[in-house]
Symmetry: C2
Subunit: 169 residues, 2 copies
């Protein structure tokens, strides 16, 4: 975790939350206003086509990530830490995508914060073993989101962003 | 493995070989002439300082990688595949660096070839379980290298490059 310049408490802060993935990447932009109000500016679940080569899929994810960085100019990246459990092959692919994203974020001078899935669940729901439904429910409550069909990875990205803002209080 | 345009047999081909790493990254540029003669143009072992943050270390490796791509303009990246054995934490860090390198290579329109350590040893020494000393010895013989102090990672990068050229014959 690296914070280059700790944002002042009275500043507006913009965070990009990422649920790193290779087939799907959750991505969210959250802003906290001077009045400490948090707002979701944009979120999506970016998919990379299985018909492309691994490298071309990385380029698809990178291009979308850089486009969002340029459009919303967040100052902090909040990204989920990964652990390998069963499928090591999938784990390596996700790690490769994650390294690329961390590199790109740093290249764009963002500060980077990392949290384990448990830390994110704990921060958003108060319970480290919350399920995906509980995370989605609490995220929607916290940001008073209008009902919308969002992918789990999108909620996880929003939750990662909220976690970083919570740690900056 | 992706070959965008198979090089003609009579062309000069330039390969960048990489032994992916995080603390140290072996990197080599090998050229095969029209006369099928292989030559080492340049090699190095790039280290990233432990005093830097993870992301800043990625940027150090990326900057050197891109500098070499721009100076030597190789058309093919040959990179070692990774497997995790004991230290999963180190494995994730190497995978993150490796993903970044694959992304950058593709962005620079290189074709990408991957080989397991066994395939590289087999290709260079004729024996898939060769040790580092045998790899260094055979690499030096194949390229008639003048004696020099080279890091193991540098020899591994040269061997990765030679393997790709061998598969293009």
């Amino acid at each position: 975790m690296l914070i280059m310049s700790t944002p002042m408490r009275s500043e507006t802060i913009r965070v990009i939350g990422i649920d790193p993935g290779f087939d799907r990447m959750g991505i969210a932009i959250i802003e906290r206003s001077k009045e400490k109000k948090e707002k979701l500016l944009w979120s999506a679940c970016v998919e990379s086509s299985r018909t492309l080569s691994f490298e071309d899929r990385l380029v698809v994810l990178a291009n979308e990530f850089e486009r969002v960085l340029q459009e919303y100019v967040p100052s902090i990246l909040s990204i989920e830490k990964i652990f390998f459990t069963k499928n090591q092959r999938t784990g390596i692919a996700v790690a490769e995508a994650r390294g690329m994203l961390r590199y790109l974020a740093r290249k764009h001078t963002l500060s980077i914060m990392e949290y384990t899935p448990q830390e994110i669940k704990q921060s958003v729901t108060g319970y480290g073993n919350a399920d995906k439904k509980q995370v989605a429910h609490m995220v929607s409550l916290l940001l008073t989101l209008p009902p919308a069909r969002r992918h789990d990875d999108e909620y996880d990205a929003i939750a990662a962003g909220l976690t970083a803002l919570g740690h900056l209080r």
